[in-house]
């Protein structure tokens, strides 16, 4: 068993920018990945994830900023001297070499003796459960098998850092889930630092120690899955990670404390933001409760109309429409959720379950989280 702190490198990126003409593909991005960490770069298409990865790999030169691996600045090293493993979305296996020859390639480049190469290739094939497939050419393998070979090839030379750019993007859902499990298993056993690019938030949540959320060439937030879900830094993150009910308005100070003045009413909130600021209130679908009559207590509550109820086995997903026309979602189980389409309800939540984020004008991204 490897000691994770020995086989993984730390990665520090500071103020990294990439401009194409006047267009900033990446704008002063800073992030760190600890030794042996599984860090995901998550964001909609075009948000700068691949650009970041290409600069770490050395395929693109930064306009400004620094990239350090284990404290050492690598911007001046050519890609083939960086010793960083990469898994490409479309596998990028050499079609004229067999699976075993593909995996042997990085070892041969490092001048490893033949016999050792054979041993390491056999181990790598076993690791990705492809023993016996070494003599096959890439086109004789399925997409999933090809990606396993690509994975084996990228880690067989024991890099301290592994970059993956949407490695599962070309595979179907079932295969994707299988491979996710294997990636986690291999990450744990190798202790290598993984930087994993995806636009699929579920994939990022399932795999990562921490996630960096990208939008328009900037990082909106870096944190654990739980931090991103429970305390999103921006409305964009709240929408991109999981599902959210969002109410926007102005913070006002009333008799009972701070409240957000929204088109659907005055909603009591707890926040450090000062009164007078524009802000958005995020409430997760499973935090909402359904009442048949308007709530009488001090908790925030909003009237709504049920639009659709979807049964998902253990729970239900209820789509609602607020009186200003915006939609919302409730998830829950039990008797309280026994409602039908068209029914008028009153939804409420505990004040601590609402989370206030500063209002931002650029609410964008092609492809929001679902």
């Amino acid at each position: 068993m490897h000691n994770p702190s020995q086989s993984g490198a730390s990665l520090e990126i500071s103020d990294l920018s990439k401009a194409y003409g006047s267009f900033k593909a990446l704008d002063a991005v800073s992030l760190t990945a600890r030794q042996g960490e599984f860090l995901s770069l998550l964001g909609p298409s075009g948000s700068g994830k691949t650009t970041t990865l290409n600069m770490i790999a050395g395929f693109t030169s930064p306009t400004s900023g620094e990239i350090r691996v284990d404290g050492r600045e690598i911007s001046t090293l050519p890609p083939y001297r960086r010793d960083i493993g990469i898994v490409f979305q479309h596998y990028a296996l050499f079609p004229h070499l067999t699976a075993a020859q593909n995996i042997a390639f990085p070892l041969q480049r490092r001048g490893m003796p033949r016999r050792d190469v054979a041993v390491r290739v056999a181990e790598a094939l076993e690791m990705v459960k492809l023993d016996g497939y070494g003599d096959r050419y890439p086109r004789q393998l399925s997409g999933g098998q090809q990606q396993r070979v690509a994975f084996a090839r990228a880690v067989v030379f024991k890099p301290k850092l592994l970059l993956m750019d949407e490695p599962l993007g070309a595979l179907d859902k079932k295969l994707r889930e299988d491979l996710q499990g294997e990636i986690r298993r291999i990450h744990r056993s190798l202790g290598i630092t993984f930087v994993f690019v995806t636009h699929d938030q579920e994939e990022a949540l399932a795999l990562s120690d921490r996630i960096a959320v990208f939008n328009h060439g900037r990082i909106e937030q870096i944190g654990t899955s739980r931090e991103l879900y429970e305390t999103p830094a921006t409305e964009f993150v709240a929408r991109f990670i999981g599902e959210a009910n969002i109410f926007s308005g102005t913070l006002v100070r009333g008799d009972a404390g701070l409240a957000l003045d929204t088109p659907v009413g005055l909603l009591p909130v707890e926040t450090r933001l000062p009164a007078g600021r524009q802000a958005s209130l995020v409430v997760r679908p499973e935090r909402l409760e359904i009442g048949k009559a308007p709530h009488a207590g001090s908790d925030p509550h909003v009237p709504a109309t049920v639009r659709d109820v979807v049964y998902l086995g253990s729970n239900r997903r209820i789509e609602i429409v607020f009186d200003d026309g915006r939609t919302g979602i409730i998830r829950g189980s039990g008797r309280g959720t026994d409602v039908g389409a068209g029914e008028r309800i009153d939804i409420r939540w505990s004040i601590a379950d609402g989370y206030v984020v500063p209002f931002s004008s650029s609410q964008t991204g092609d492809g929001h989280g679902s």
Partner: protein, 268 residues
């Protein structure tokens, strides 16, 4: 081979046309082949007596076999040169962006469509001042220029379907740019390079116009020797020479096809 048996009138017509075209293309060979075995010093067809004397003459008379040797040397050297230069040029045209690229491309491909006799006079004129007319170097350089465009075109089409992510992958695995080229890019575009090389060899091997200007009695390619022989005398050795040219050309095509087949089966 179901298509081998003509059934409908359309099929019969198609096969008839194909047969005619084949006859048309091979007719010269069908005349030359018997002539080369003639027993007499005459071009009478069909010959009334038979012998191997014209082949014997070809291989004993040094003006003939020396010219074959010159043709092979020029052909192989100019093919090697145009394969290397053409591949490099195709890479540059594919990978680099520079102003005047369209002009440079056109310039490199021009020999393909430029009237041969004009090129010949131009090359001859330049060679006189460089003093390389009538030298092997001169022949190789001229033929390289003429065959270069064919290599460029065929390598470019191979590069167009090449997956450039493979070069990134190779680099990430520790291969230097040169190793990447040798181990990944070249093997994958090799079919394009070889087809270009085959074209180059065939073009050089039967090039007459430029070679006629550059020839001397000491350095002379086979097609030129044949032309001069026909204008000077009645010598059926020229028929034997033609047969040899056809054999060399067909052989080079067959060898490349065999190579192909082997590649295909070896990595299938």
């Amino acid at each position: 081979m179901r298509g081998g048996i003509p059934r409908s009138p359309g099929r019969i017509f198609a096969w008839g046309m194909a047969g005619l075209v084949m006859l048309w293309l091979t007719a010269p060979v069908l005349v030359l082949l018997p002539l080369s075995f003639s027993g007499r010093r005459s071009f009478r067809f069909p010959p009334d007596t038979w012998s191997l004397r014209w082949y014997e003459n070809f291989f004993t008379d040094s003006t003939w076999h020396a010219s074959l040797l010159t043709s092979l040397k020029v052909g192989l050297l100019s093919t090697a040169a145009s394969m290397i230069l053409g591949t490099m040029a195709a890479f540059a045209l594919h990978k680099l962006y520079f102003s005047g690229k369209a002009f440079v491309t056109g310039f490199l491909l021009a020999p393909m469509i430029f009237p041969g006799v004009v090129s010949a006079i131009a090359i001859f004129g330049v060679y006189l001042t460089w003093h390389i007319s009538g030298t092997l170097t001169g022949f190789v350089a001229a033929h390289t220029v003429l065959s270069l465009p064919f290599v460029i075109v065929s390598v470019r089409s191979a590069l167009r379907i090449f997956d450039w992510e493979l070069e990134k992958a190779a680099a990430s695995l520790g291969a230097s740019p040169f190793e990447t080229f040798r181990l990944v890019t070249l093997p994958l575009i090799l079919p394009g390079v070889l087809i270009g090389g085959l074209f180059a060899f065939v073009i050089s091997f039967d090039e007459v116009v430029v070679s006629l200007f550059l020839q001397t009695p000491f350095v002379r390619t086979l097609p030129v020797q044949m032309y001069l022989s026909v204008t000077e005398s009645i010598d059926p050795t020229v028929a034997a020479a033609s047969t040899i040219i056809v054999i060399v050309t067909v052989a080079s095509i067959l060898i490349s096809m065999l190579f192909w087949q082997k590649r295909k089966t070896s990595d299938a």
